[in-house]
Symmetry: C2
Subunit: 323 residues, 2 copies
């Protein structure tokens, strides 16, 4: 990728040019050193323009209808005058490096909606475990004027925790009748949720969905109180029939009023910024170490000794670290 000068990107983002926004995000996600330098300058410029959005994490196992929900929810939000961005945290297969969430086409209407920006990100694992740059991408979208950022994640585990650590509100989608166990919903994920929406509450499924709502509401009662003092809601919706969508937004608005009043909202944002800082610092510390004088040659030799079983990884580390 041939890069342009800094002002091209910063002016483009401020002018809400989605092509330049996308190019900037690609720079941010690049692992090339010159791209990284430029990307940091772009983010430095955008930082003061960022922060004024609502960041919503959305999760649920495959099959609960996340794309259909985001399509309906996003269309509702743009309908009430909001500009929205949809980002995806993609736990890409390490083996095939294929993208699971890569198809924009799952959100036909949003994809052509001028007030919606969809960014299906490919994940890139780099040294030190820093994955895709979702936090940075959120900031750029905010600087480009997007007021609501939906961060979608698939699966159960690491990626949820990651999304949780960079959003204001965490929404868990479920469906009735599949059984908790098969939905892979672990206690940890339910504990993160600020709202649980039972999707596909329609037709023959409605009775089961109401039953599921009661059960989840009861289950949530047994959880320890949240630091935010917010009591998670459990509601029904049908993304297909477009019911329960406005109600979902109302819940989020109540949450914002409450947490902005108590100060939790700001406190949580600060904690997330702190985590982001240390994640980046760790990455820099490791990069600087591995770029050190003669380290590549030394490691090549010592790695071989470890592989031959001549020394343990612990001794090898001590030698490399010089202590």
């Amino acid at each position: 990728m041939k890069t342009k000068e800094l002002s091209y990107y910063t002016n483009g983002i401020e002018a809400k040019n989605t092509v330049i926004l996308s190019q900037s995000i690609t720079l941010v996600e690049s692992s090339k050193k010159e791209h990284q330098v430029l990307a940091q300058q772009i983010i430095n410029h955008c930082l003061p323009l960022s922060g004024n959005s609502i960041r919503i994490g959305i999760t649920g196992v495959p099959g609960v209808g996340k794309s259909t929900f985001i399509e309906a929810f996003g269309t509702f939000l743009t309908g009430i005058g909001k500009k929205i961005a949809v980002l995806a945290i993609d736990p890409t297969s390490q083996q095939s490096r294929g993208s699971i969430l890569g198809d924009k086409t799952r959100m036909d209407n949003l994809a052509v909606n001028p007030d919606a920006y969809i960014r299906p990100s490919a994940s890139g694992k780099t040294l030190g475990g820093v994955g895709q740059k979702t936090h940075e991408t959120i900031l750029l979208c905010e600087a480009a004027g997007y007021e609501i950022i939906l961060v979608e994640t698939v699966g159960v585990g690491q990626s949820e925790t990651e999304v949780f650590s960079m959003t204001d509100f965490f929404l868990l989608l479920m469906i009735a009748g599949a059984g908790d166990e098969l939905q892979g919903i672990k206690r940890g994920i339910m504990e993160m949720a600020d709202a649980i929406l039972i999707n596909k509450a329609e037709g023959d499924n409605l009775i089961k969905a109401k039953q599921a709502r009661r059960e989840y509401a009861n289950a949530l009662h047994l959880f320890p109180a949240k630091e935010s003092d917010w009591i998670p809601h459990v509601e029904l919706c049908s993304a297909l029939q477009n019911t329960g969508i406005e109600e979902a937004w109302n819940i989020i608005e109540s949450y914002l009023v409450k947490t902005k009043t108590t100060g939790y909202f700001e406190k949580n944002r600060k904690r997330q910024t702190k985590d982001w800082f240390y994640k980046f610092l760790n990455h820099q510390v490791l990069t600087s170490f591995y770029e050190g004088n003669g380290i590549t040659e030394q490691l090549k030799e010592i790695e071989q000794q470890v592989l031959n079983g001549e020394i343990s990884p612990f001794e090898a580390s001590r030698i490399v670290m010089g202590n």
Copy 2:
């Protein structure tokens, strides 16, 4: 925990004393510095005694019957004269820090079987992202004479990749009729599998299980060839009725014959040792950085500037790194 001298642990492990083995693993998992020093000495001692086991990763979403399978499979293995260890990679809830896999009682027979050692580990996230020390635990179990190590993991995502990166054979348990999507089985997990076992292939479920076997076998055909040249098997089993258990072991034995002949087994082990070395080295590099002179005070100040929005995390990192 009051520690004893090195020989207490190394003699205990060599004498196959499970109480001392457990104490040693607890030391390995401790984040206390003095425990770490001792733990590394123990592992250094055990390294030459380790490596002579078969390491089997077992995964599948909650509800597929992993515990029942491990109970049946482990009992079969001890029945043919093997000593087995069962370890768990536990993606513990970061919120509640409660353990999901913590209950030994799920494996009633194995828990009292003198040839089986069960270690339900709690996960501990430490600086630099190094989680629980499963690789180290495997080595200690091997030094204590366990010939087959079963490493169990729950959920879909990060923990599977971790287990995959430290085992010789990767076994995926599934059930019929739940639908791929609801089982949360992502392409990436299926690609890692050396065998897929359709569990609960019993009674009324048998026809559906056979159908599922055909479907998964067809699906696997579309995947790229494995580096090991091994063609994954898809078979039926019923952990409850104890069918298909011996057949599962036969598959693993064929795999071992093949991969030891081609040299893939050894190559894979070496790669895993290399990964382990760099994971540890990264951890040491970060620890050494954060323990540096005056760094705590400097970070306290600069962190505040980041939180106040006075400087970006990038500038802050540059200042702390001194460049």
